[in-house]
Amino acid sequence: MSNPNSTSLYESAKKIYPREIAGRFANLSKLATVSLLGLFYAVPWLMWDGRQAFLFDLPARKFYLLGLTLWPQDFPYLALLLIIAALSLFFFTALAGRLWCGFACPQTVWTEAFIWMEQFTEGTRSQRMKLDKAPWSWNKLRRKGSKQFLWVTFSLWTGFTFVGYFAPIRELSSELMNFSAGGWTVFWGVFYGFATYGNAGYMREQVCKYMCPYARFQSAMFDKDTLIISYDEERGEPRGGRKRSVNANEAGLGDCIDCTLCVQVCPTGIDIREGLQYECIACAACIDACDSVMDKMNYPRGLVRYTTEHSLQKGETQVIRPRMIVYAALLLILIGSLVTSMSMRTPIILDVIRDRNALYRELPDSIIENSYTLKLINQSNSAREFKLSVSGVEGITLDGVADTVLVSGGGVLSLPVRARAHRDNAYGIMKIDFMVEALDDDGDMRIEDSRFLGPTP
């Protein structure tokens, strides 16, 4: 613990040098960082049934999620999933405040990792400040150079892992080894790597303060029962320095010894004692700092703590409240509809495109013929046999297609077909239905309507 007055030595500092702090929440944050980053770098390497388990294969326009294959036609599921994610964030914010910001946001997580590399190469806060002020020397060059090396390497690894979610990562890595990766692949890897480098290395919490929309509007989800980090003003004030032997009560002082450690550790540079501020990302560094001081002074911990406004005002915190019920109900409805529609999804797509070149053709024996192109997509991963039929006009038949068609797993079949009906039954514009049935046990089927044109009666 350094002399609290030491900050005045660094008045001219133009950078925020957050002081490193040990404690419960710092450990929690380390755990969150290691596990979330671990997931990010490991997940693209997971395999499932001989292919990448999570692959948003943009070149092939197919998304693989474990055993599930999603097609561009399944986009509504993705949209619904994103809405659910946003609503979960609202729900979680109303309940637990900015826990997301402090522990799980990618901005926080990568910043944390970059700060570790900075500390590893440049040392503690005061060493970093001294190093920045010092003139260039071999030592400074070595420390700064190795920091940049770590940062750039880590950023590039991050960038190419990110690309590995969108193009098969195993092929990508061997292409990178042979310098044969495609131009765009390299571009996006470097692009994302550069974004990581800038965001986590330099911009850090400025992103939260100035650029993050969520940080600004999250206050709309806050109420008096939301978990926040707060300074207990009643207990702390009047603040003031004192010797450890002094009885605070007799001296007319509160528990805050005004050591300013809570300010020095704050990565956004605020003073938590001034109340809830939108810059606060709830990283809990000030709690760790204050607890360590309270321990030293033999005061109870929790002068700065996780609490709610209600609880600070000596009230009861209400976890279940109308806001929570509304968010939870909306979430349940959305999740329910996503699960239902996904489970009822048939992995067959039938598109019917009517031939626009001719209204209809008259064949001998008073037969009217219309032409169509059927696009049959087998979304499952194995080959399936299908039977096509048409209905809606009396005696209508299908010509130009075999009784059964075989479509390979994930295959698309384009079938030019003709529908024929007797003139007595076909007049004007009639609605017909094309039906495709799978000939296996699942009995999946799909019906798609179209029009059948005949002469005016």
Partner: protein, 99 residues
């Protein structure tokens, strides 16, 4: 004591805030736009529209689409920020004394 200078350290200037915010928010909008657009259209199908002989692969199509959306939303965002920040201040002296 905490010096004000220390606490306010590395505050971004208003201009820097505006530039980075516009770049970032237009990036997010472009990402959403690209996602929706290419869920509906395959770049390979689209390439024939502009020029029969134009033969671009999907990667290039996605990139072109993304940058198109980014430039578009950047312009929209930047002009809005510019107009809001340079709007004439309400002339309080004139209005408040009139009634």
């Amino acid at each position: 004591m905490i010096s004000e200078e220390y606490r306010g350290a590395k505050q971004w200037s208003r201009d820097k805030q505006a530039v980075f915010t516009v770049v970032w928010i237009s990036f997010l909008c472009a990402a959403i736009g690209t996602m929706v657009f290419f869920a509906l259209f395959d770049p390979v199908d689209l390439s024939g529209i502009f020029d029969e002989d134009l033969d671009i692969d999907r990667d290039a199509g996605y990139a072109a689409g993304f940058f198109f959306f980014w430039v578009l939303s950047f312009l929209c965002s930047a002009i809005t920020a510019f107009l809001v920040r340079t709007a004439p201040k309400r002339d309080a002296a004139h209005r408040d004394t009139s009634d």
